[in-house]
């Protein structure tokens, strides 16, 4: 028809971001569009680049510790833990068992805050506002717990090389237990409000499918990977800290669509609750700090790669030490960076509305991509 009329078929460029309600911060996506269809999507990142890796080379090991909380502020403690574990490996330090338990409990609490925030923010992307506030209400209770222990609401810098600085008390354990039962009582609300909603199902089923092959080619990890049916969770496949001592499952999806990723995240929250419950029950006594932690952290020459499972996937730290008080090179392998790199492929030939749904469903934290 267009050809008959002699009109040239034209595509146009749409600039989504850097300030856009659905980009969760400062991401820019250059879209080549034909009507409402996306022909090509090109993410432009770096709007939140703060030079963490450069900073690491100019700071000593301890001074770099607070930075990790600002790389991914939603699951700060996992990043903290990864760095501590990497340096402990370099220094050959053994962390006491109680400290490992405390790390696991706080890390899982933090994972819950991250998933809850994702849940709320994602539903807001889809246009439902109320779940966002429900989640934030639950999240506040979690933050109370973590705030009381670590003194911070968001950017926790709680772990130290060799252990944790503050012990947890009976009140904290009781608070954890209370929260576990509180959140469990809320699942029904969440499922009734969101999971069973027809519109939600139609928006998410068979949209934004990630295949197993794509996962390998792009190095996708975390709930995005597990939604595609691959049971890869570093807590299980490369056990660290006290995780081998707990009984939990790795929820997986089958289709690899948005709905599966959503279900996986919700199921993961339940598994986190299980871990917290078991850790509270089995909490051993003992010291919380390793013996003989050197005052001056000066690891021997060598390199180490340490990975942990964060709320968004595998976070890896590659540290090269040349026997100095400063790290020679620190590479942060952030999960969102890899997860985001598949985005052009996902967005292609989709509608703008699906782009928003896709972007939210891979759960990106922009400063973590940009570092």
């Amino acid at each position: 028809m267009i050809e008959l009329l002699g009109i040239e078929e034209k595509t146009y460029t749409l600039n989504l971001g850097p300030q856009h309600p659905s980009t969760h911060g400062v991401l820019r996506v250059l879209l080549e569009m034909d009507g409402e269809f996306i022909i090509k999507a090109e993410p432009v990142i770096g709007y939140g680049h703060r030079g963490h890796e450069h900073m690491a080379e100019n700071r000593n090991y301890t001074q770099f510790l607070p930075n990790l909380a600002r790389v991914d502020y939603l699951h700060a403690l996992a990043y903290n833990q990864c760095y501590c574990m990497a340096v402990e490996k370099l220094l050959d330090l053994k962390v006491p068992e109680r400290a490992e338990y405390i790390r696991v409990i706080t890390c899982e609490l933090n994972r819950l805050t991250s998933h809850l925030l994702w849940f709320g923010a994602y539903l807001m992307d889809l246009g439902a506002f109320t779940p966002f506030l429900y989640c934030f209400d639950d999240r506040e209770h979690l933050l109370d717990l973590l705030d009381g222990l670590t003194g911070s609401r968001l950017t926790y810098c709680f772990f130290r090389f060799g252990g944790v600085p503050v012990d947890i008390d009976a009140d904290f354990v009781a608070g954890c237990r209370a929260f576990v039962s509180r959140l469990r009582s809320r699942w029904d609300d969440y499922h009734n409000l969101v999971t069973k909603n027809v519109i939600f199902i139609h928006r998410t089923r068979d949209v934004g499918i990630i295949t197993r092959d794509q996962c390998i080619k792009y190095g996708i990890t975390g709930p995005n990977l597990r939604g595609s049916g691959i049971p890869y969770d570093i807590r299980k496949s490369e056990p660290y800290s006290a995780y081998p001592e707990f009984d939990f499952e790795i929820p997986i999806g089958s289709n690899g669509d948005i709905y599966d990723r959503y279900i996986v995240r919700l199921a993961e929250m339940e598994q986190s609750l299980r871990i917290i419950e078991q850790a509270c029950n089995k909490l051993p006594d003992g010291p919380i700090m390793a013996e003989k932690v050197p005052k001056r952290i000066k690891p021997p020459v060598g390199e180490v790669y340490q990975a942990v499972e964060t709320a968004r996937g595998e976070f890896g730290m590659y540290i090269v030490s040349q026997g100095d008080v400063k790290p020679y090179r620190i590479k942060l392998r952030t999960p969102s960076f890899a997860n985001m790199s598949i985005f052009p492929e996902m967005a292609q030939d989709n509608l703008v509305a699906d782009l928003v749904a896709n972007l939210g469903s891979i759960d990106v934290v922009i400063p973590e991509i940009d570092r």
Partner: protein
């Protein structure tokens, strides 16, 4: 007093007084509705909502309105100026005129036309024109998106809306709103035509661009949709029109299905407003519960489900009326 009554008997004077009253009602109603929306939303979301400005934030929206009046009116360099300026006014006029025929009670009606319902439906179609004007003239891709979506959506949902209304009109045999209300003195039509009521509410939600059908201004996709470039009072007019549209949609629903002003003990106006606000509350409830539909799903929903259902409903109504 007699003079007033005489004046009101006069057609022209009645129109003037009515229009002034309508303008007052529209502004007060919009201010109240926005406050109500914020309170309803807040209470559904475990928070108090506006609290500090006036008791329970009662004059919060007044503060908002005064502030918006004092804001700078930006006309971006690249816009189509005359259309850009005209759009907020054009969206407001048909909304205002629709009030002419709404029967607030058996006597509180400015002009009881024999084509009342058609007039409202015709005017409501006009608002899509101004949305198109606003979006197109803004010279902003998001705004154009919003405008185009709005046109497609309104065209799609106008049809089931009209067909649904037709089934009521078949039953009454008149386009006159007062007649329709009078026909419900025994049983409200919502009991006779439940499917039509549901269809009407869905279509009305879509026609007023409310969530889950708020595609033209889908916040997470299109920033602010067709009014992305509008500032200050011009933006406020769009807001005002949206809430007034909601009122009209609810009023029509009340007239067609909920028995209009009819009800025991209380005066008719009170009953009418109570029912209208109940319907509005329902629309608000939708908005704060549902996620947004995708654009193609929205259109599919209209053409493949709503329109056939509306026609089936019309056919059944006609058959029943014929056989009775």
């Amino acid at each position: 007093m007699e003079l007033v009554a005489q004046l009101l008997g006069n057609e022209g004077a009645r129109m003037v007084v009515g229009l002034i009253a309508v303008i007052a009602l529209v502004s007060v109603n919009a201010l109240f509705l926005i406050w109500m929306e914020r309170k309803v939303a807040a209470h559904m979301q475990l928070r108090p909502g506006p609290m500090e400005v006036g008791p329970h934030g009662a004059i919060q929206t007044v503060a908002d309105a005064i502030k918006l009046m004092g804001k700078e009116l930006i006309t971006p360099a690249e816009v189509d100026k005359p259309i850009f300026w005209l759009a907020p006014i054009v969206i407001f006029l048909p909304v205002l005129l629709s009030f002419l025929v709404i029967p607030f009670s058996s006597t509180w009606i400015i002009k009881d036309m024999n084509v009342g319902i058609l007039l409202i439906l015709a005017f409501s179609t006009l608002s899509v024109l101004s949305i198109l004007m606003a979006g197109w003239s803004s010279n902003n891709k998001y705004a154009v998106f919003g405008a185009i979506r709005s046109v497609a959506q309104n065209v799609a949902y106008e049809i089931p809306l009209l067909v649904t209304v037709m089934s009521i009109i078949l039953m009454v045999g008149s386009f006159k709103l007062t007649d329709i209300v009078a026909a419900q003195s025994g049983v409200w039509f919502v009991a006779v035509q439940p499917l039509a009521f549901i269809l009407f509410i869905i279509c009305a939600t879509a026609e007023t661009n409310r969530a889950p059908f708020d595609i033209p201004e889908a916040e997470s996709e299109l920033v602010a949709g067709f009014h992305t470039e509008y500032t200050g009072m011009r933006f406020a007019l769009f807001f005002l029109a949206e809430y007034t549209n909601m009122f009209i949609a609810a009023a029509v629903a009340t007239v067609l299905f909920l028995g209009g002003w009819q009800g025991p003990i209380l005066p008719g106006v009170v009953w009418f407003l109570l029912k209208v606000y109940a319907v509005i509350f329902l629309l608000m409830w939708f908005r704060w519960t549902f996620p947004r539909l995708r654009f193609d799903q929205l259109i599919t929903f209209a053409w493949k489900i709503l329109i056939p259902l509306a026609f089936v409903n019309l056919l059944i109504t006609a058959l029943v009326l014929k056989l009775r």
